[in-house]
Amino acid sequence: MHPALSVVFLTTLIGVGQGLFLALFSSQSYTIVNILPAQPGSYYALGGLIALAFLVAGLIASVFHLGRPERAWRAASKWRTSWLSREVIALPLVMALVFVYAVVNWLELDADLYGWGLPGQVALTVGSLGVAATLALFLCTGMIYAAIRFLQEWATPLTVVNYFLLGSASGFAFAAAYAAALAPGMVEFYAGWAIVLTLAACATRIASLVRNARLKRVSNLQTAIGVRHPQVQQQAMGFMGGSYNTREYFHGRSLVFMKSVKWIFLVLVFPVPVLLLWAGLALDSGALLWLAFVVQYVGLLFERWFFFAQANHPQNLYYQVVG
């Protein structure tokens, strides 16, 4: 497939936003039971607004993918059958809940909703809804790709798992750097989980690479044109100047380029951020944590580009030779 930069940015940016929100919520729930030091509401409010900014940036990026963005509101209608439609509903829902979560924390609204006698129950209630929506959004984003069975590289549960783990890892890495500036007591929690999530994502992403390297194609030229002969060769695709079929489904890069992108993302997304996070923790350096996030995010851009480019559409069987 030809990777669209709009979708590369959309999926990576909302991944950071969702991961950051999960990091904020989990740390806040830890503070209530005194596992982590309590923070002022403004800490979560600002963090929530930053997560919202990532989500909005992703939404803006997605608009560039649409031919007719002014009709985008229609995309919410077919949620019964389309994962894309479900994502279109889930994304604003997450944004709204993250916004409410930030406002509740900013105003430090609180009430003893459940009779526990503990603070932060309103924020955590809104936050739990936000977490449910965030997980649903991860599921929708992953399933948009995993649900297309013709794109065999994507049609695996690993796609959903990777979207969840990679997004969460980058969000926790951002949270670690953010906490280094505002709440040093939380850094260890975020950075530790960022390392765990990055290592888990490393395992599942490599698993998907191994799976894709061993894929057995369902379709071939024989089934594509229905001629049962071992020797079939295309002589002409019917036109010479290119079409949507040759532009949309081919990345047009060399094998060397593809391999380079793969190794760049394998280095930038996994080992380098883990080392930087570990060094940032050991040396108590916020700058290293920022660097860890930036390196991982840049790596994720390569990862997402590769994810799209690697998918081989069966329609390509019909477009092998110009003429």
Binding site: R68, W83, M240, G241, Y318
Partner: protein, 241 residues
């Protein structure tokens, strides 16, 4: 239930692209607006087409044969492009099984084209909506057209009648009988999309001639067999039996 479809006879198609040009002509002139066409007479011409004819070579030289292969939307009975559409712009008509795009609802997200294994959908780069073969839905029901010409433009234009059109759910239709008689098949059946369009395979043209058929047993010339040398001044008497 009706399922309109094309049946394309690969044994008859000569690869002249008449269906391609007539399809473009009809569909770029309709009320849905033109199909985009960039640099049609310059280098790198490109544009939206609903129908293409491709050419394949089967076998190894010198035992090869050429297969001309027209490809358009197959109007699947289980269209994978329809449920993925987030807006409902992509739909399959209940009354005749034609898969269509509502150009007024399409947001141009391209998701349906990813979900079509045949590459039958093309984005119109000017209107920014997804387009595809409509089976000339604006022609086949047009009562102002003479009844025998209410067929898709590609079917009308085919000079070798390689394209048949009809209802594949009606066992007596010309398409159903052609599928049954000539072993009509579907493309990429492994995906379970159940394409409505079928293809008729190349058939070997063969004639068996036995040795005794090479000599005409009742050849009247035999009756004029020369039994003896002819005389110097040849007369008809020389051939008398």
């Amino acid at each position: 239930m009706t399922q309109l479809a094309l049946v394309i006879d690969l044994n008859v198609c000569v690869g002249c692209h008449a269906c391609v040009t007539s399809c473009k002509q009809w569909n770029t002139s309709g009320e849905a607006g033109p199909l985009f066409d960039d640099n049609p007479y310059q280098a790198d011409p490109t544009g939206t087409f609903f129908n293409r004819v491709q050419t394949y070579e089967v076998g190894e030289f010198p035992c090869t044969e050429t297969v001309h292969f027209p490809k358009s939307c197959l109007h699947c009975e289980e269209p994978p492009c329809v449920p993925v559409c987030p807006t409902g712009a992509s739909y399959k008509r209940k009354e005749d099984g034609i898969v269509l795009v509502d150009y007024d609802k399409c947001i141009g997200c391209k998701y349906c084209s990813w979900a079509c294994p045949y590459g039958a959908r093309e984005l119109d780069e000017y209107q920014k909506v997804m387009k595809k073969c409509t089976l000339c839905v604006d022609r086949i029901y047009d009562l102002s057209i003479p009844e025998d010409r209410r067929k898709p433009a590609c079917v009308i234009s085919c000079p070798t009648s390689a394209r048949l059109y009809g209802d594949i759910h009606d066992p007596n239709s010309v398409v159903s009988r052609a599928i049954m008689a000539s072993g009509g098949y579907q493309l990429m059946p492994e995906w379970g999309t159940k394409p409505a369009n079928h293809y008729l395979p190349r058939r070997r043209t063969q004639m068996t001639i036995r040795a005794d058929e090479l000599v005409r047993a009742d050849n009247p010339l035999k009756k004029e067999d020369i039994r003896h040398d002819t005389s110097k001044d040849v007369t008809l008497d020389d051939w008398l039996m």
